[in-house]
Each structure stands twice: as structure tokens, then as C-alpha cells.
Amino acid sequence: MAECGEISMMLGAFEDSELEPNEMQEVAFHLARCESCTGILADYSTLGRDLRSIAAEPSLAGFSSAVIARVDRLPQPVLTRIARLLRRQVDSLGAGLAWGGAVAAVAVLTIVLMTPLAQQFANRSASPGSSIATATHEAAPAANQVAQAASNEPTMADNDSHADISRLESENHSVAVWSEPRRDTTVIWLPDQP
């Protein structure tokens, strides 16, 4: 059996469960037969409880704000100050760019939606005549010729550059019927007969 002097060195660590398994076993074996060491161990346990009971719980109200205030008072190195200033400038520039972009987008939208030029562009791109002419060009040789004739028609082109074919009304590929609403005219096209 181990001597009390040897075991007493390990009693605290035994109480804290910080010994190796074989040492824990050795101390436990000794304690089972030694009242003196058992008494010391009990005192250590009581001592731990007493230390915890007298431990003050300090008030930490305002702790964080006090630390933040101290950090704010720290003298900043020159490089840090410059970096911080630049960062602030970049931040404000970024915000300016974002605002500028937004304003530019609104301006472009306004131009597109509100100005006569944009309306004209919108009308032209949405003109049924052109799409019909294109569609007809693919689908019907007669309509293709009509479209070409319409665009090449000197009187039309000369007299009214805005003449446009609003719709083709004939489903017969060899005959084309179209209306010109600006002239209030309906044109019927027949191919030359051989």
C-alpha cells in the first residue's frame, strides 16, 4: 500500500479527477483503508465549496460600454487613420455612384417612355406592316412583292414617307390586299397575268 505522504500529493488532483486512471485507482485503493487521507480529502472538498461561496459576483453593468469608450479613446496610428479616412471616402463615393446610377436609370426611362421620339420608335417597332411584310415575305411570294413594291413605290415614298401598310387582308398568296390608313386607301394587288 502506498504511503500517505505519496498519496497526499495526489489528493487534490484526485478530487479534481485530473489523475491518470491507474493513479485514480491507486488513490481510491488507499482511501478505502486510510482515515487520515480521507479526512484531508473531505477538507479539500469543503474548502472548494467555501471558496465558491465567498466568491463575489461582480456587477458587470456598463462593462461593455466602458470598454468601447476606452477603445474609442485609443490614439490611432497615422496609417490606420488614413486607411479609415479612405474607407469613409470610398463608402460615400459608392453611395454617390449608386444614387447617380438610380437617377440615370430614371432619366433614361423617362426619355424612353415620354418623348415623341421614343413614342415614334415604339410605334415603328410595333408597326404591324413591317412584321406583316416580313411574315409575308417568308410565307407568300405575292405579299413579298407587295411589300417591296410598297417600299419602292416612288409616289408613296416621295409623297409621304410615313406611308405604311397597316395590314394585309388577303389569305390568297397570289393576291394581296392591304390598307393604308393614313391615305385612307385600300390597295388590291394582282400579279400580272401571263
Binding site: G12, D16, L47, D50, I54, P58, V67, R70
Partner: protein, 163 residues
């Protein structure tokens, strides 16, 4: 900060054994951590790094202040006067308030290193390895300091009980 502040104060308190000083040192710990965050290496956990700063600051503070006082002035004299003259043979029989007062005195009689290990273990519940990391000393030193601190406190309290 909220996560660590209580234990950082606990570490400082274990060394300096004065609440106001401990709170001041704990605040300084966070300021130092903020200043040296770039130097933090992940070899230890962030909490261990923080507690180590606190322990170093507290030990430096203690040494700077030169508080190697066994008993403190009039307060200590008064506390001694309050000690029981006749008691039983176990310190468990001493009244709680007397025991607390004597225990606080006994803690002050320890060196900051010995007081730190026993308070970090018993009050903060740190393992030997954690204490070893925080105080930057070998595990064996933690064990021997703990043994010394416990034996010393037990002897003093036994004396109180037996006086």
C-alpha cells in the same frame, strides 16, 4: 464581449483579489485584445488567449502595486479580533461568517500565482490544462501550486478551528 467578460473578470479577480481592480483589468484586457487582434494565432482558443492576457495584466498589476501583504492594516486586525478563541477540532464547526472572513484573509496570504490556480480551479472550474494555458506554466506546476495552496489554506483554517 458579453460571452467572455464574466470569466475574464474572474481570472483577474483570482489574481488581484479585489473587485474594482479586477473589473478595471478586465476592461484593459479587452482593449489590449482589440489592439492586438492581428497578432492572435489560432494555436490556442480565443478564450484562452483572452484569459491569458487577463492573467498577465493581473499578475503585472499585482507586482507593480507591491501587494505582498500578509494582513492588511486595521481591517485585518479587526478580523483577527473576531476569530473564535475556543472551538472544536474541525473547521466545519467555526461559524460561516468567521470562516469566510478567515478564508478571504488566507487567500490574501497566498502569492498571486498560488491564489490564481486555486481560484481558477475551484471558482472558475477550469481544468489543469486550461489553467496551464492561461498562466503559461507546465501542468505539473499547476498541480504542485494547487497542492501547496490547498495545504496552506487547510492548515490556516485548521488553526482557526483549533485556536
Amino acid at each position: 464581449m458579453e460571452r467572455y467578460q464574466r470569466r475574464v473578470v474572474g481570472v483577474a479577480l483570482a489574481v488581484v483579489h479585489n473587485q474594482d481592480d479586477a473589473i478595471e483589468l478586465a476592461q484593459e484586457t479587452f482593449v489590449r485584445a482589440y489592439e492586438n487582434l492581428a497578432k492572435f494565432e489560432s494555436r490556442s482558443s480565443f478564450s484562452t488567449w483572452l484569459y491569458r492576457i487577463a492573467a498577465n495584466l493581473a499578475i503585472d498589476f499585482w507586482r507593480r502595486e507591491g501587494r505582498h501583504v500578509v494582513l492588511r492594516g486595521e481591517d485585518a486586525e479587526n478580523e483577527i479580533g473576531k476569530l473564535p478563541t475556543t472551538t472544536g477540532d474541525s473547521f466545519k464547526e467555526v461559524s460561516r461568517s468567521e470562516l469566510s472572513a478567515r478564508l478571504k484573509q488566507a487567500l490574501e496570504e497566498l502569492t498571486p500565482e498560488h491564489r490564481a490556480v486555486i481560484l481558477l480551479r475551484e471558482v472558475e472550474g477550469m481544468s489543469y490544462d486550461e489553467i496551464s494555458d492561461v498562466l503559461q506554466c507546465p501542468r505539473g506546476t499547476v498541480m504542485s501550486r494547487l497542492h501547496y495552496a490547498r495545504t496552506h489554506l487547510r492548515t490556516i483554517l485548521k488553526d482557526v478551528a483549533g485556536s
